[in-house]
Symmetry: C2
């Protein structure tokens, strides 16, 4: 089984919301899907061209707000079909890698206070991120986001909140566990 490229689906998904240029997709992702999905420009531009060749998107040039021209991409009916097919299909677990846990796993090689300190740092960062998520949650709940999309946006933010809270609690427990040694 060959790997399938997910960048194309991420792109089709974004374009299903509204037509965007590559640059706009990048900006959109960096605010909306930043926590769970990011793409590099070096992937976006060629992938959009590939999608256009397969008639899943179409583009036309426009005069940009500033600067010269921009390529506005729009999803086609065929593109929507492909997107929906992917959305329905079962997602198989992606290989999850956590470098922080990998280091902790070999913690017997370093001073225990160093490990405890690293967990404290991790907890502080998680706490900051939680505050950030909760702020976004409030904004989404009162905003001008289309009602149809709102619960799905909220769901992804709530995922971040749940998981980050769990990380904070785990940090607290681990600091106790390592201290009592």
């Amino acid at each position: 089984m060959p790997r399938i490229n997910k960048t194309q689906f991420a792109l089709l998904g974004c374009l299903s919301i509204r037509p965007m240029s590559a640059y706009e997709v990048k900006k959109f992702m960096s605010v909306s899907t930043h926590y769970f999905w990011m793409e590099y420009e070096a992937q976006l531009y060629p992938t959009l061209k590939k999608l256009e060749k397969s008639h899943l998107v179409k583009s036309h040039e426009e005069t940009a707000e500033k600067g010269g021209v921009r390529n506005l991409y729009e999803i086609t009916d065929k593109g929507l079909d492909v997107l929906r097919e992917w959305l329905i299909k079962k997602t198989d677990k992606m290989a999850y890698r956590n470098e922080f846990l990998l280091k902790l796993f070999f913690g017997d090689q370093i001073d225990i206070d160093t490990s405890i300190h690293k967990i404290k740092e991790y907890q502080d960062e998680a706490t900051a991120q939680l505050t950030h998520f909760q702020q976004i949650e409030k904004e989404v709940s009162i905003n001008k986001i289309p009602k149809k999309r709102q619960p799905f946006i909220l769901a992804t933010i709530k995922y971040g909140i749940h998981l980050t809270k769990a990380e904070i609690a785990w940090c607290a427990e681990m600091m106790l566990l390592l201290r009592e040694k």
Copy 2:
């Protein structure tokens, strides 16, 4: 800043526990670090050779239990230094990708009952995984694992337990949220 290859550190870490062959490292990872770190054989063999060239590990041939010969790799003092340096260094957040969330984010493109059903499936899988983690937790608590390593092994398992419980709770909340629509 160029990317640094983490496979080498994962390998050094494993070899800091005991000397192993590439094949053994692979097996060790698939039981011990499976949840948060995996490597492919096609990476392990060449990386071990690279590490040997840099004198971070050394190897000698042995007659294997079954089959012909095997290459047993051992970490050197220099290798331990490099490992510890990495262990102490601050870990910067790795790009986290969650395809399940990405699909959910575009949920307005498909039937809401399909989304709810997918969350239910996700919850069932998480529940099964939680049971699995809890079983391992019990085993680690009573086992013949060196006492020095035990809290670190436990920590990574407890991470899995905390995060998986959070996922299960999130699923329950999301099914309610989407149903009330």
